[in-house]
Amino acid sequence: MTRHTRVSAWVAALALLVAAGWSTGVAGARVRAASDAEGVTDTEIRVGGVGGFSVNPVNLPYDEMVDGVNAYFAMVNEEQGGVFGRKLKVVKMRDDASQSVKNLLQTRALVEEDHVFAVMPVATVGFAGARYLTKNGVPAFGYHISNDWENAPNLFGETGSATCFQCADPTYPWLAKQLGATRVGVIGYNVDIAQDCVSWQVKSYKKFGVKTPYVNDVLAFGFTEASFAPDIEKMKQAKIDMLSTCMDSNGSLLIKQAMDAAGLHIPVQWGEGYNHDFLARFGQELDGLHLSISEQPFEDPMPSEGMQQYQEWMQRTGGNVHKISLAGWIVADLFVEGLQAIGKNPTRSKLIKAINKIDDFTAHGITSGIDWTKAHHDNNAGQACRAFLKVENGQFVQEFAEPGKPFVCLDGKTKSLDDFTVRAAGLG
């Protein structure tokens, strides 16, 4: 090749580049600002979700969250003809394989390619697209599992959006007190989210005088019952009378099995475990387990209006009754409540504003109550409410509750664990 050819090629290339620069300016000038009502047509309001479906490190069926959303949308579309005549539709579910970069790109694709009005449901361990959505004013609704949801007015989790590991939660020591425990062991994996959970629980116990002589927040994934034996010895030496875990159900189960085998029969409080599929599989092996949730349990003999509707429509749409699909139902309820509040011409910004004015959201009696004027930075909203359950004869059984009144509530700033109420959903 001659020098002349090479130079000519590069000159031509540079000329193209200059042309490109010019056309960039032109093209840039033509870019249309995304509409605040993107995804809203005369007949439909379109949403789309993202989550860790193909890979899920916590072994929960995140793909079932959309079942709850679809069931709620089916109810609204069928019984009310949609919202102001517009049917609600989930047009796309995108998989992020639980990877942060992929979550970001898939979230963007929902907005930029699928042109959804809102991102819903979100069910992922690393919600990296959160900042993008906030920057672009797109509302998102989903399963609140990480601190990515915090302090953004457009992100709505099923239990609120704040994750305050610095705030002591009186419900943990309250449970210990009810079970007669004074020395609680706290255990979690050696990942930061679990370690934060451990320190949060320790802080909560200590604030109310419950001792924590055994704390282990460095447990590695992939241990066996046998390899856990030295830790059981340490628990025995520390004379703990209750154990609290910050782990997935599988890890907690292994620990419980190891404790049972070693003759350490003490109450165990699981941070995660309200899973009926899991219970169906292990039944009585879970006896002695205590856990608490933020929603009305399925076992409540007096289900709320929202819970009855959920059960009915999950059956009609063929979805699985599960805490994950319940979370989908709850956020769909919030979405619709917000849409109904803003009238016939919905926009994203109006929706976000409207939801952030709701100060006592219960999804028609399902959740203990979320004050969305504060819930982006403070979930307790001055109160800590939990519904308690235990496993007895292989079944979940409500504790400390009355029919239709599943929640035990304490003032968030209380100094006395005796100052509690048992009540139905609602902050009022």
Partner: protein
């Protein structure tokens, strides 16, 4: 004290047996096949998943166990041996290792596709009451532990007997040393190799069903971690001694229990806490590293090498090394045009989201260049490249946030730190080589995951490191388009450096050592210094890639979280597989791998296929490393260049014959070529006006119905050519052949299909043309149907547009190429025939001529 020791023994033996069973399987495979079977855990996972599935389907324990362990597991071993490993028996260690890595990555994804995606919690044991306990003093053993211990001991005894006292055992040992020597002794090495694989796969199956219940979770990662722990035990047994490997496994189990028992996680002593937190989970990896570095066995021994194997041929020349004036002229125009086209498209036409996707691929490609250096140039396989990326990434992020470093200085500092880390890994491993060095890098990566990437001060913990907006020379990289240009420039610079490295003295030193570490010092090369350089350089590039990723993530998300998935050891393994599949020796191989990794799953998702198929595709692509160590793309490039050069030479000869009036060839009429382009152009036009929404069923139905007539047009071309040669095909067989060729091509690699016929070039070319034609027809049919069905509301997505353009362009190019290729082959054939006839006639004339 004695009580404590006894307690640790009782607690440690069950877990030691768990490690032991896996270690024995590894050693068995290595002893008998020379393959360090990193896919052993994946095989175990497959059998455990099957066992679980059978029990879920209502089978009882015994039949399910027999099917999973006694029937399917050996069958898997048989298939692996027949389809894969028998071809690599005499191959270099890299080939065996990469093949095993491909399986390690691919098999679990296949299992997920078959049995479902979610891990199974508390999988069933081989006993009916697994939680029953037996008391040993104040300690307890569960029934499932006792079964695992008993099975392991039984396996050890059986293996020792097999190897010490049976002819088959002796033959199995012999086959690892030299299959050819075994054949000389009258033993079928094929049969012995098959038996060895079936036995080791049986052990994998047994390990799978025994171990899953002990871990309480049936998922692929648990088995992979377990496998690495087993490697430590196998290393204690020098990878060849079964009793020592077993002893090592038991010792490891007891040591872990002692560690856990003696150290208190809530101790006020920071040292004790750090030891507990860091060393307990990483103890097996540290042991592996220490054994590899300190044991004279590994320092002074190379892998098992067949003495009759002969010398490995050098790797094939790269396509780029063919000095062909015409190709260089084309490249001189095409390459700048390509670069500019990329810049123009990313700055104008492509959507910001697509630009960001390409950026992700390019950012990844920078890290992948480190594999190009260490594997492509140096011939070593490092599984710690993602770790070096992590070191570079976290360091750059910390420096940018805490010390106010600018974007470029922070990235360079991150790369420098990774370079130092690479050198630090290389120095103690200097005497190691090949497989052992790879295992050392695996240990380092796992230890870094367990310790370094758990340090909040380094990674920012759960909250992560909040990155400032990146800027370069005062220009904020605040849009996708700007960041793409930056990433593209970084890749360009590193790519050029890698090219210079390859051409320069250092690259040649790496090549010399790769060729022969013994011969290299004889020409004045210091292997020690070269290996340190190799590791440091590749780690530095990986670190720079990691730093670029951190900046990219910072620009998009604002936060670099702890233990980001891109810095994980498993991701590092996956990267090696992806790069090796697409070409580990070239810079464009890294680009292909980076973009392929990002875009291929998207394509699958758009086509409604499971995204796991992308991993499966890459994994099984890596398996072709045995045949094409240069990578599939590079292989095709080489093949194409050689064909072009060959055709040109023959065409020149034809022209020479024409000039002398000795040629009798007939050219295909140019109008035929033009006619072939018309349907392709029409296809492209149709594609451009319609949208793309594909589903697998639609592809199948519409493709079968409408693909045939379009493909038949391409067939007509072949028919014309063949008719001209007097061997035309009837219409019915022609259509049948079309369908068969289309299906075959979809299922098989092009070079495998080429074996089907004698006129490889024509068949291959036409085959590709048919498939593209058929595929293009899918698109049209689908679009027309979908447009009718859904109205005009569903506008094509950007991916849809990209697909249409790509397919249309490929269709045009390949159709033209198909015809030109066919014509060229025809000319060559005719020319050769006529030349031969002329020569024969001349010979006859000469023979018949009366002597003077």
């Amino acid at each position: 004290m004695l009580d404590d020791a006894l307690r640790y023994v009782i607690q440690g033996v069950p877990i030691g047996c768990v490690y032991g069973l896996m270690a024995l399987g590894l050693v068995l495979t290595y002893k008998t096949s020379g393959v360090f079977n990193l896919a052993f855990g994946a095989q175990a996972f497959l059998c455990a998943a099957l066992y679980n599935e059978l029990l879920d389907s209502g089978w009882s324990i015994l039949p399910a166990a027999i099917v999973a362990v006694v029937i399917v597991a050996p069958l898997v071993g048989l298939l692996l041996d027949r389809l894969l490993f028998r071809f690599v028996r005499g191959s270099p260690w890299q080939v065996k290792l990469i093949t095993a890595l491909g399986l390690l990555v691919g098999l679990p994804e296949v299992v997920k596709l078959i049995f479902g995606r979610e891990g199974v919690v508390n999988p069933p044991a081989l006993v009916t009451n697994p939680e029953d306990v037996v008391h040993l003093g104040d300690q307890v053993l569960k029934a499932k532990d006792i079964v695992a211990i008993s099975a392991t001991v039984a396996v050890v005894v059986l293996l020792v007997v097999l190897f010490r006292y049976t002819a088959l055992g002796l033959q199995m040992r012999g086959i690892a040393e030299s299959p050819r020597m075994l054949e000389l002794a009258g033993v079928s090495s094929e049969r012995v190799g098959m038996a060895a694989w079936m036995l080791s796969s049986f052990m994998a199956g047994l390990a799978g069903v025994l171990l899953a219940p002990l871990y309480g979770l049936l998922d692929a990662n648990s088995f992979t971690v377990l496998l690495v722990v087993a490697i430590s035990a196998a290393a204690v047994g020098r990878l060849t001694s079964l009793p020592l490997a077993f002893a090592g496994a038991i010792g490891l189990g007891i040591a872990q229990q002692a560690f856990a028992g003696e150290l208190d996680p809530s101790s006020p002593s920071e040292l004790v806490r750090v030891l507990y937190e860091g060393l307990r989970p990483s103890l097996p990896f540290v042991v592996l590293l220490l054994v590899l570095i300190l044991s004279p066995t590994f320092r002074n021994r190379r892998e098992i090498v067949d003495p009759l194997r002969g010398v490995d041929p050098p790797p094939p020349n790269l396509a780029v090394t063919y000095h062909d004036a015409r190709l260089r002229r084309i490249n001189a125009i095409v390459f700048p045009t390509f670069v500019v086209a990329v810049v123009v498209l990313t700055q104008t036409w492509l959507s910001a989201l697509w630009v960001s996707r390409f950026t992700d691929g390019i950012v990844l490609a920078v890290s992948l260049l480190s594999i190009t250096v260490i594997t492509g140039l140096g011939g070593e396989v490092s599984l710690a490249q993602a770790t070096f990326s992590g070191i570079g990434g976290y360091a750059a992020a910390q420096l940018a946030v805490d010390h106010g470093f600018g974007t470029i200085p922070a990235m360079l500092a991150g790369a420098a730190l990774a370079t130092v880390a690479g050198a630090l890994v290389a120095i103690p491993s200097l005497r190691l080589g090949g497989l052992y060095l790879t295992l050392a890098t695996l240990a380092v990566a796992l230890a870094a995951d367990a310790v370094l990437f758990k340090l909040d001060d380094f990674t920012g913990g759960a909250d992560g490191i909040f990155m400032p907006e990146p800027s370069v020379f005062g220009i904020a990289l605040d849009t996708d388009r700007k960041f793409f240009l930056f990433a593209f420039a970084v890749f360009g610079i590193v790519g050029v450096l890698v090219l210079l490295l390859r051409k320069g003295t250092t690259g040649r030193q790496f090549a010399a050592i790769r060729g022969s570490e013994v011969a290299a010092p004889s020409i004045g090369i210091n292997p020690t210094a070269a290996r340190i350089k190799l590791f440091a350089l590749s780690a530095g590039i990986a670190g720079l890639g990691g730093a670029l990723f951190a900046v990219y993530l910072g620009s998009q998300f604002g936060v670099l979280n702890e233990s980001n998935e891109r810095f994980n050891v498993f991701f590092g393994v996956l990267l090696v597989v992806v790069v090796v599949t697409l070409g580990s020796r070239t810079v464009d191989g890294a680009v292909n791998a980076g973009l392929g990794f990002v875009l291929f799953p998207l394509l699958l998702e758009e086509l409604s296929f499971p995204v796991e198929l992308s991993i499966v595709g890459f994994a099984f692509g890596a398996i072709t490393y045995a045949r094409h160590p240069e990578g599939i793309v590079e292989f095709q490039k080489l093949k194409s260049i050689r064909a072009q050069i060959h055709h040109r030479a023959v065409t020149a000869r034809v022209r020479a014959l024409e000039r002398t009036g000795r040629a009798r060839h007939r050219l295909a009429p140019p109008v035929l070529v033009a006619l072939c382009a018309v349907p392709a152009l029409l296809l492209l036009a149709a594609l451009l006006v319609a949208g793309v929404q594909l589903g697998p069923t639609e592809i199948l139905v519409y493709g079968l119905v409408l693909g045939i007539p379009v493909g038949a047009l391409a067939l007509a071309v072949q028919h014309e050519v063949r008719r001209a040669r007097g061997r035309g095909l009837g219409t019915l067989p022609a259509v049948g052949l079309l369908v068969l060729a289309g299906v075959g091509l979809v299922l098989a690699l092009p070079d495998q299909l080429a074996r089907l016929g004698r006129e490889q070039g024509v068949r291959l070319g036409l085959g590709i043309g048919w498939v593209n034609g058929v595929f293009a027809a899918f698109m049209i049919a689908l679009n027309i149907t979908l447009q009718l069905r859904r109205g005009t509301e569903d506008a094509p997505t950007t991916l849809g547009w990209a697909l249409m353009l790509a397919v249309g362009t490929i269709a045009i190019v390949s159709w033209l190429a198909t015809v030109l290729w066919a014509v060229a082959e025809y000319r060559v054939h005719e020319a050769e025939t006529s030349a031969a006839a002329e020569d024969a006639a001349m010979a006859t004339v000469v023979t018949a001529a009366p002597a003077d």
